[in-house]
């Protein structure tokens, strides 16, 4: 899982270093998603079970559900920022003509 994240981060950094603007933007989006994945993994550091509470299972064995809320926030913010950025760039490109 962590190895997949490393590969994804490498790909996205490569894309950001490209010259074309669209590749840079795609790299940023990919990097954002990868880091969301990293947060998701960080919730599974102790327990791994999905949180459906049962009497028989020890609480320590459950995964941390809070990270999913964090990812949700990060996705929403990252997406809105991306939309704002593309809107601003489009606006500027239009002005250039």
């Amino acid at each position: 899982m962590m190895l997949a994240c490393c590969i994804l981060i490498a790909i996205s950094l490569y894309l950001i270093l490209e010259n074309a603007l669209i590749k840079k933007l795609l790299g940023v989006v990919l990097l954002g998603s990868t880091i969301n994945l990293v947060i998701f993994i960080s919730g599974l550091s102790k327990g791994k079970l999905p949180v459906f509470w049962q009497q028989s299972v020890d609480l320590q064995q459950y995964g941390n559900p809070l990270t999913q809320a964090l990812i949700l926030t990060a996705i929403v913010i990252g997406f809105s920022l991306f939309v704002l950025l593309t809107a601003v760039i489009k606006f500027l490109l239009k002005r250039k003509d």
């Binding site: 926030t73 500027l92 490109l93």
Partner: protein
């Protein structure tokens, strides 16, 4: 009483944002701006006064207890900083009414309040994930602010956006790593974890987090987006970004170093000191071969950030006092200098040193103000820059950091050189190029903000004790003596 003042500071910006989103006539814009800014300034002043007697104020929205909810803390230091921000914003706001390069005023003021709202959150929040959210809001609103110009700045804006987003994503990575280890996100839990596990991997996670804030604040290795993006927009936007965004981010680094006691982590401190010295040096060297006033001043923003970072890295109360004084001095003086260049651009249409000359014949007032601010930035007594540098050098000597002392003094000389270059080429020396046509005289809206900033600068120059006492009163680690 204090709580309602804090609510005013937090929610009046939201009210103003809503007001600008509603359809309406443009004549409401100026009165609303001035009244709202006056209200938040007075509220911040009253809150600051109230906090001198009381313990720091904590606000938990939804009354969730601390490890689960997000807590906001108002203490003497961040409310003082907010007060300075509001005063400077008042001056910038007055100038923005006269700014010829500023277009689309409604979206500028909308982003202005969004920025103030986000900065308030950034300075008061007690939770790293919430900190990340505020940083993103600051980034979004500065994208809008940068875009309100007639200049064609697509390349500089893309640079700015990509580096800022990279910084925030790295910050998120750091937060994920910290959360894996600590299992909580608020500052107190992290501080507790660090004090109980001082030699674990936590320091590398925190190092990642702190360095991502360095990228956002334009500290050495990744600083070159700042002198590209900041001069390449309208003057009001440049002043707003340089006085609010970079300064608030560099202040939050202090928060982390003090609250989490990162001074015990020597590698991080040594690397940061080296980075701070390089930031000072490269900032001032970049300014040396520029011939555009706004570009020169933008490079000086970077070198001054190096000074502030250096003061942050000196542990103990002397470093803290020096840092606070440097920060407030910088916010005021740098905005003043940028505003003189903005007036020049408004009147002459250019800030290239080769195209303007003999400004002292154009306006004695403008040249006097420029000279005051320039000498203050270079550190001449009795202006605020002198006290700031004196405090910093004293703190560095106490910490036996003599290499940093030498670099700070050399950088200070180069700062003087840059200021004299602007003075000589733009203000005093006559040139062969003849001016075409009459240049209009300065208007009230250009005089007034400059006078406000000058009075603020002279006030902290003549009464430096007010800031020093506030810093002493808060003490190191500020906010710890409260529940």
């Amino acid at each position: 009483m204090a709580k309602s003042l804090a609510y005013i500071i937090l929610f009046l910006p939201l009210f103003c944002i809503t007001a600008y989103l509603l359809p309406g006539k443009k004549q409401w814009l100026k009165p609303l701006q001035i009244t709202a800014l006056a209200i938040v300034t007075i509220a911040a002043a009253l809150l600051w006064h109230a906090l001198f007697i009381k313990a720091p104020l904590h606000i938990n929205f939804g009354n969730w207890p601390v490890p689960y909810g997000v807590s906001f803390q108002f203490n003497i230091i961040n409310v003082l900083l907010l007060l300075v921000f509001y005063c400077v914003c008042f001056a910038i706001n007055l100038f923005s009414f006269a700014d010829l390069d500023l277009k689309n005023q409604r979206s500028f003021y909308l982003a202005f309040w969004l920025l103030l709202f986000a900065i308030t959150g950034l300075l008061t929040t007690q939770d790293i994930f919430n900190f990340y959210v505020w940083v993103e809001v600051v980034l979004g609103s500065s994208l809008i602010v940068i875009n309100t110009t007639t200049k064609k700045n697509i390349i500089s804006l893309t640079h700015y956006a990509i580096f800022s987003i990279l910084g925030t994503l790295l910050m998120l990575f750091g937060i994920a790593a910290i959360y894996t280890l600590v299992g909580a996100l608020n500052y107190q839990s992290i501080a507790l974890f660090i004090s109980t596990h001082p030699h674990s991997i936590i320091f590398s996670c925190i190092g990642l987090f702190v360095f991502s804030v360095f990228i956002k604040a334009a500290v050495f290795p990744l600083y070159f987006w700042l002198p590209k993006a900041y001069p390449d927009t309208s003057n009001s936007s440049t002043m707003l970004l340089s006085s609010l965004v970079t300064k608030a981010l560099i202040f939050s680094i202090l928060n982390f170093f003090v609250l989490w006691r990162l001074y015990q982590f020597h590698t991080l401190v040594v690397i940061s000191i080296v980075l701070a010295c390089l930031t000072m040096f490269f900032g001032v060297m970049g300014a040396a071969n520029q011939f555009n006033i706004k570009k020169i001043l933008s490079f000086h923003i970077i070198s001054q950030l190096g000074y502030i970072l250096l003061a942050i890295l000196v542990p103990g109360i002397t470093g803290f006092v020096a840092m606070l004084f440097l920060l407030i001095h910088n916010i005021i003086v740098k905005t003043g200098l940028l505003m003189t260049s903005a007036v020049v651009e408004n009147k002459f249409g250019t800030v290239e040193l080769n195209n303007i000359s003999e400004l002292r014949h154009y306006s004695t007032f403008l040249s006097c103000i420029f000279l005051l601010f320039a000498l203050s930035l270079a550190g001449f007594p009795p202006f605020s820059g002198f006290w700031a540098k004196l405090l910093l050098l004293k703190a560095l000597v106490i910490a036996h950091d003599y290499i940093a002392v030498t670099i700070a003094i050399i950088v200070s000389l180069y700062t003087l050189y840059s200021m004299l270059k602007i003075w000589r080429m733009a203000y005093s020396e006559p040139s062969e190029a003849k001016k075409s046509g009459e240049i209009a005289a300065m208007t009230v809206l250009e005089y007034l903000p400059l006078i406000i900033l000058m009075l603020l600068m002279l006030f902290i120059s003549l009464y430096p004790n007010i800031i020093i006492q506030a810093a002493m009163h808060a003490g190191i680690p500020f906010g710890e003596h409260s529940p």
